[in-house]
């Protein structure tokens, strides 16, 4: 088992890259807002409703990209030669961000569908598939939060992540055949001609949401890293703090000098019940 645990120098989740990404995302979003709401024309048929194409397609695409990254990272974690905690964290972070984007995609789709189709929801093949995916990944996130040993949890969720890659094509055919039997693909017929400025704004929205995805991913993977550090080192940290409390006259054997050997600490928290270790650690850190 290769464990490439590297402790970050500081405890924050931001750095120069994330700040640059964040600034870029803000600027791009502002651009999308301005072009999307002010300069681009309203559609002849759909009116202002058409402005949702500056959010919805980009958000949906990002959701699928995020799920794809989860499946790929899970596969890389399972493959012995590339097994690294980095892939586990990436899979988890991408799954979480993906669920957010997927929920946003369903929500914006509903908001568009209500005035355009007259219903909040229709059993369109693509809609059904997106909803199924959302449910699948909510299950995946639940699986990631089950506690227990870090390694066992990582393997379970990696297998689940890879399984999704297999499920999605089957779901695709099932929903496609099921619905095309009753009605045509509603979405395909409703794509109107796109003007030049609309196309550029739409492209900008893809950039904006791509940057937001990247920014969220950086922060989320770092957060996962810190969480696993808390799991591994938290108990030792808390013990050192208690010892320091018990012997006030002794020179400060501060938390800085607490034994922070990653693998051993992980082995402890892996074999003992991870939940109680974590609870003790966080209780210790809070007081």
């Amino acid at each position: 088992m290769t464990r490439t645990e590297r402790s970050p120098a500081k405890t924050g989740t931001g750095n120069r890259t994330t700040r640059l990404l964040g600034a870029g995302a803000l600027v791009a979003s502002a651009g999308v807002l301005y072009f999307g709401l002010v300069t681009t024309p309203a559609d002849e048929v759909q009116g202002d409703l058409v402005r949702l194409i500056y959010i919805h397609p980009a958000v949906s695409t990002m959701a699928f990209v995020a799920f794809g990254v989860t499946a790929l990272a899970s596969l890389l974690y399972l493959y012995p030669r590339t097994r690294s905690w980095r892939w586990d964290r990436l899979a988890g972070a991408s799954g979480e961000v993906g669920v957010v984007f997927c929920a946003l995609s369903l929500a914006t789709g509903s908001i568009w569908g209500r005035p355009a189709w007259g219903v909040w929801w229709t059993w369109d093949a693509r809609l059904t598939l997106t909803a199924l995916l959302c449910a699948l990944f909510v299950g995946y996130l639940a699986l990631r939060r089950t506690g227990g040993g870090a390694e066992s949890r990582a393997i379970r969720s990696a297998v689940a992540g890879v399984l999704f890659a297999v499920v999605v094509p089957i779901d695709h055919f099932a929903t496609e055949w099921w619905r095309t039997l009753h009605q045509g693909d509603t979405l395909a017929t409703l794509h109107p001609k796109i003007h030049g400025s609309q196309l550029w704004t739409m492209l900008l929205s893809f950039i904006a949401f791509g940057l937001i995805y990247a920014w969220l991913m950086f922060h989320r993977t770092r957060l996962e890293q810190l969480e696993s550090r808390l799991e591994n080192e938290g108990l030792a940290y808390a013990l050192a703090a208690r010892r320091a409390e018990g012997a006030p006259s002794e020179p400060e054997s501060g938390p800085e000098t607490a034994p922070v050997s990653g693998p051993e600490a992980a082995a402890v928290s892996g074999s003992a019940s991870g939940e109680s270790t974590e609870a003790a650690a966080s209780a210790g850190l809070q007081s």
């Binding site: 089950t146 297999v166 089957i170 099932a174």
Partner: protein, 222 residues
């Protein structure tokens, strides 16, 4: 591998035969689900007749959850799972055996549920070949998929609540495919029923293969 599978399947089926959980609890549950659908929907016979394939397969899905949970609950008791891991049996064989036992239990439940929809929903059974072929591939798919997710959630404290959340979205294609195929067989739809059987067969093959490949890893972690 096949001998190990037969051993495990025999063991699980013997446990079921002796404990009578399947016959005394799961089977009555299946019938109650059918009756509840009758309460919830218009008890007008023609409506229930139209909905019968879908209701049948929803009931089968619920039963498959119980069967899978049961299949891994017997391993959780008295550290039987540790015995299984140390038995030296081929993990792929263990997977196939457990899935086969679940599939046979489901097949028996499906036979019971079929009598149920004939009696309660006045369904006239037609297109026997398509009905049976659909039931066979769907059952294998459900059992394989259920067993794989069963071991994925085994050993977790939250497995009872986590398992339905994991399995139900995954088996959605089985519900869609089996329901459509049965509608065709029962003369309610002019779709190509065998197309759905193919999809169900692909589902079954994919999950049996994945189970054979991944079960060993997951069993170690359970």
């Amino acid at each position: 591998m096949w001998r190990d599978a037969a051993l495990i399947a025999g063991k699980d089926l013997r446990i079921e035969a002796r404990s009578r959980v399947a016959t005394n609890q799961v089977a009555p549950f299946a019938i109650i689900v059918l009756v509840l659908f009758g309460f919830a929907l218009e008890p007008d016979r023609s409506f229930l007749q139209t909905a019968a394939p879908g209701l049948f397969w929803v009931a089968v899905l619920f039963c498959s959850l119980l069967a899978v949970q049961r299949s891994f609950a017997v391993e959780a008791a008295d550290a039987a799972g540790d015995g299984l891991r140390m038995s030296g049996l081929d993990p792929a064989g263990i997977f196939l055996g457990k899935a086969a036992a679940v599939a046979l239990e489901l097949a028996a439940l499906e036979a019971l549920l079929t009598i149920g929809i004939v009696v309660f929903y006045s369904t006239a059974l037609t297109g026997a070949a398509l009905l049976l072929a659909t039931a066979a591939v769907a059952t294998i798919g459900l059992a394989a998929c259920g067993t794989l997710y069963g071991v994925l959630a085994a050993g977790l404290r939250v497995r009872e609540t986590l398992l339905p959340l994991l399995i139900l979205p995954v088996v959605a294609p089985v519900l869609i495919g089996a329901t459509r195929a049965w509608e065709v067989a029962l003369g309610q739809s002019l779709d190509d029923g065998w197309k759905w059987v193919t999809l169900l067969a692909v589902f079954a093959v994919v999950y049996v293969t994945l189970g054979v490949l991944a079960f060993g890893t997951l069993l170690e972690e359970a």
